[in-house]
């Protein structure tokens, strides 16, 4: 690269900034800085003539570095960078600083001091610009195929969306049939329609209106183009990188050909093996060859290999009219290459038998909501009759107990959010079909927060369903009659009730499904409750910290069908957005390792929140860190963590940061002590911007320097700031639990503590260094903190370093 020729462009914002800042003084100051070859002033430099001036200067070869002092730098930077790139200069040689919100607005009462600050900020920006290096754009291929793990309502819906958009979709389900937990529920609130209903695919030529929703079996789900359904399948391993994952899947044998089976039912009539039917809560039996419910998907029988006698019997083989039964089928291991993955592994009921006092699994007439749902379902084990499992007689008195294992710090402290609605729905369905049934719901709080949900509560009261506010202590069984007694206090009356019941229905907590737990071993992104962690609940729902990996439905938290469906659409859209161009475009603002200094420690690979750093062996018999440019998100937290100073972040290299720091401290011009505010470029930094934007005042001796994340700071850099002339240092990062790079700000807090200890050693008062955790709306707090810092430093007087200097 040639000698830096810096063009400095000063925007006065339509002469608004020149009312506060002395632009002639700024120009004089900039002129004196070495390397500056051009200075221009205009009312704006990010549009029109101003922008053209930058372009012309580059094209004429007058400048090869661009420093723009603008207002709204985040907005203007986009246009400036685009124009610079089009003019043939590398866009990473541009530095845009905030003349309005960092220099003019917050210090409008002290224009002289504001001008001095602007001089310092310009010096910092110019010194940094001189050291900037050109960076390349990077591209990584993305396969246009996706794997959806879990074939419940969320997984199926995401599959329809992506297949309709033309992507190749693989849908893996661990059970032999699709439908998941949803299919067992029978009906859904708040629409009271069937659980097996989905939004159908546009590939169904008869789907001509956009109102179409169909039963899974009518939707032609298995016939959707580009959709490969893998039932009875489990994920063995996931390797590779975003855009190109290699997934190994084991498909258990079905022993029945899905292509030949016509679902005629002859096989089940001859099968001699009868076992309890788990799908129907063991309330009835099934054969070794079976289907869950009619019209299930795929429409083919399956043989339960744990009970089938195979060739010792083979009666089904004899009767099958289409020779569909293939007892010789073997486990198939397949490998898929996919660009993205959607996790939709769902939730399941908590094992209520753990709560001994409710005697689930001990007293047969204590059942769970899901078991009750099977009874209510006309396809279910009792054909819709609400029966006591002990004697199959009709249950006339039902007591429901809410929050079994939910909102319970011993098991699951969270509210499972859907159980109140499930119980209300069940109570209404039973009362509608059998009006003489006596139903009491024992609750802690009834939570009906969704659209139309409160209607269920009201309808239940209208129908005469009784509500007792109280969590029962115990379910007892009368030793003589065998009837159940629920021991509860009606807390509103302060009265003790012993409710007589034929059937006690528990509303268990909803917990991560077996599939979610299993997959969590492979994709290690589970939260403390065992659900998959979304990247950000507000802005990045259904995304995970890993690019190209999405999560939807009950795998993230218990939720109702509408929300699962909504999340499925969201995950599908995000996966589509990721895959649609066939590539990931990134820039090179990534970490780079100095192999000479890197030495075997594991600090950076362990710290990197994105798994971008791996240790690789070298011929020198030791390991060095290697950064994946694809995975690196450019936070620099590894830089701050490296004990050997062997990592740098491109575009925020140490010499660039130090030069800027020195530039910022090179001008004072006031009697006040200089303060360096090192801010991140995310929430923490925006609190500094917003204080200026909102014209909040703080002293001009506070100089602002931005870094990608404060996690990049090393302890020695904090000390360098004092050496460069700062009397105080403020480190402004995001909230401890809100760091945009997961762990960055936590690392910073530790380093600030460490730096304080060192400052003490040097005889510098540790209160000269403060850490702030801020967000945009706390601009006022930043202004107050900056004032407080200045006041404190004035009180402390000039800094005395032990042993002079």
């Amino acid at each position: 690269m040639n000698e830096p020729k810096v063009g400095v462009f000063l925007s006065d914002c339509g002469n608004q900034l020149s009312k506060i800042l002395d632009f002639d003084a700024l120009t004089d100051h900039v002129k004196k800085i070495s390397g500056v070859t051009l200075i221009a002033r205009s009312s704006e430099f990010w549009r029109g003539k101003g922008l053209q001036a930058i372009v012309n200067a580059i094209k004429d070869g007058k400048i090869n570095r661009v420093v723009v002092a603008e207002s709204l730098p985040k907005l203007s930077e986009v246009k400036i960078v685009q124009a610079v790139e089009e003019s043939g200069l590398n866009p990473y040689l541009v530095e845009v600083m905030d003349l309005k919100d960092h220099c003019a607005w917050p210090h409008r009462d002290t224009p002289l001091e504001a001008t001095e600050k602007a001089k310092a900020m310009l010096s910092g920006a110019i010194e940094r610009a001189k050291l900037l290096e050109p960076l390349e754009k990077l591209e990584f291929p993305v396969l246009k195929s996706t794997l959806i793990i879990g074939g419940g309502i969320a997984g199926m819906q995401a599959a329809v969306d992506l297949a309709d958009l033309g992507f190749e979709v693989h849908l893996a389900e661990r059970e032999p049939f699709l439908g998941g937990l949803a299919a067992r529920a029978g009906r859904f609130f708040p629409t009271d329609d069937c659980a097996i209903c989905i939004q159908s695919s546009v590939s169904d030529v008869k789907t001509i209106t956009h109102t179409s929703r169909k039963c899974v079996y009518r939707s032609g789900f298995t016939e959707i183009p580009h959709l490969n359904i893998l039932t009875n399948s489990r994920i063995v391993s996931i390797e590779g990188v975003p855009g190109n994952y290699k997934v190994t899947i084991d498909k258990k044998p079905r022993y029945v050909s899905e292509l030949k089976c016509v679902a005629c039912d002859l096989c089940t009539t001859v099968c001699p093996v009868e076992v309890p039917d788990e799908y129907n809560a063991k309330l009835k039996t099934r054969k070794a060859i079976y289907m869950n419910i009619p019209n299930v998907h795929p429409p083919a029988y399956v043989i339960d290999e744990s009970v089938c006698k195979f060739h010792d019997c083979a009666k089904c083989v004899e009767v099958c009219p289409t020779n569909a039964i293939e007892l010789a089928q073997k486990n198939e291991r397949t490998t898929l290459n996919v660009g993205s993955i959607i996790v939709a592994t769902g939730f399941q009921e908590f094992d209520s038998s753990v709560i001994k006092e409710y005697h689930y699994g001990d007293y047969p007439n204590v059942v769970t909501n899901l078991e009750l749902a099977r009874m209510i379902d006309g396809f279910g084990p009792t054909s819709g009759m609400i029966a006591r499992p002990s004697d199959h007689k009709s249950a006339k008195k039902i007591v429901m107990i809410q929050c079994v294992g939910s909102r319970d710090k011993r098991y699951n402290s969270y509210c499972s959010s859907i159980c109140c609605m499930i119980s209300l729905k069940h109570a209404i369905l039973i009362k509608s079909a059998y009006p003489d049934t006596d139903i009491t719901i024992c609750y802690i709080d009834i939570r009906t927060t969704g659209r139309q949900h409160e209607d269920y509560y009201e309808r239940a009261r209208e129908m005469g369903i009784k509500f007792v506010k109280g969590r029962p202590t115990e379910v007892l069984r009368d030793p003589e009659t065998g009837r159940l007694i629920v021991d509860v206090e009606d807390a509103l009356l302060g009265r003790f009730l012993e409710l007589d019941a034929d059937l006690v229905v528990l509303a268990p907590a909803m917990v991560p499904s077996e599939g979610t737990k299993e997959l969590g071993q492979i994709i290690e992104l589970l939260d403390e409750d065992g659900f998959f962690k979304e990247y950000n609940a507000k802005l990045r729902p259904t995304e995970t910290i890993v690019r190209g990996l999405y999560v939807c439905g009950g795998a993230t938290f218990p939720k109702d069908a509408p929300t699962s469906s909504l999340q499925a659409h969201s995950a599908a859209l995000k996966a589509a957005k990721f895959m649609t161009t066939g590539k990931i475009v990134k820039d090179q603002r990534t970490a780079v390792i100095d192999e000479e200094y890197c030495g075997d420690c594991e600090f950076c690979p362990v710290t990197c929140p994105y798994g971008a750093i791996n240790l690789v062996s070298t011929d020198k018999e030791h390991f060095v860190a290697e950064v994946s440019d694809l995975m690196c998100e450019g936070c620099g937290v590894c830089v701050g963590t490296c004990p050997l100073n062997a990592i740098e972040l491109r575009h925020s290299r140490q010499n660039q940061m130090l030069a800027q720091m020195k530039g910022l401290m090179s001008v004072n011009g006031t009697s006040k002590p200089l303060v360096l505010a090192v801010c991140c470029s995310e929430c923490g930094g925006t609190s500094v911007d917003s204080s200026g934007m909102a014209m909040m005042k703080y002293p001009a001796n506070v100089r602002v320097m931005k870094v990608p994340c404060t996690g990049i700071l090393q302890v020695h850099q904090i000390l360098e700031a004092f050496k460069a002339g700062a009397q105080g240092v403020m480190v402004v990062g995001c909230k401890s639990d809100g760091c945009h790079y997961e762990v960055g700000v936590q690392k910073t807090e530790t380093k600030v503590q460490l730096a304080k200890t060192l400052l003490k050693e040097y005889g510098i008062k540790p209160e000269r260094l403060v850490m702030l955790n801020m967000i945009y709306i706390e601009g006022n707090d930043f202004a107050k903190a900056a004032q407080a810092m200045t006041d404190k430093l004035e009180k402390l007087g000039p800094m005395q370093i032990m042993g002079g200097s």
């Binding site: 929050c403 011993r410 109280g470 202590t473 302060g494």
Partner: protein, 172 residues
């Protein structure tokens, strides 16, 4: 349990006071589900005691009513409520914390006060009569040993219990 709710005597700082005491830390976790009440053998036989209501009154800051009442002394410490509480409120321990505060404020039922005197003086809660001493060998029991009341007094003195008890005895 009847109670009149007046602003007078109500102190929201009261639940913080309870929280800061050993055993009282978990009181604010209570969401009034009533599991404790239906678990309570005392509440089943008398309407003078209901653990849920004790917690509720304390959380509402009904300091005077809680501390001056008899009901905090009716808990039989079976710990059934504590075992079953879904919010891990240590109900029986909260009630001990309330008793400790009540005692410091000079509230203690006479029966308990008499027990306390007996313990400080003899190391036993019941007086041993001559008749009893004579009866023991007859039914094959060994003679009673000294109680080691000196060691006990040291503990009671270190915790300030003896002083509080003395104040209570001397009070009109």
């Amino acid at each position: 349990m009847e109670h009149e709710r007046t602003e007078k005597g109500r102190s929201l700082a009261f639940s913080n006071m309870v929280r800061s005491r050993l055993g009282g830390e978990t009181i604010t976790s209570c969401y009034q589900c009533g599991t404790c009440a239906s678990s309570c053998p005392v509440a089943k036989i008398t309407d003078k005691f209901n653990p849920r209501e004790v917690i509720k009154l304390s959380l509402l800051g009904e300091k005077e009513e809680v501390l001056s009442s008899d009901f905090i002394w009716l808990c039989c410490s079976c710990y059934n409520c504590q075992e079953r509480c879904p919010q891990k409120v240590e109900i029986a321990d909260v009630i001990y914390a309330l008793r400790n505060i009540a005692f410091e404020k000079g509230y203690i039922p006479n029966l308990y006060s008499e027990f306390a005197s007996a313990i400080i003086n003899d190391g036993r809660i019941a007086k041993i009569s001559k008749f009893m001493e004579q009866k023991r060998p007859a039914i094959g029991l060994p003679p009673l040993q000294p109680t080691g009341v000196e060691a006990l007094r040291k503990i009671l003195s270190a915790t300030g219990f003896d002083k509080l008890q003395k104040e209570k005895e001397e009070a009109p």
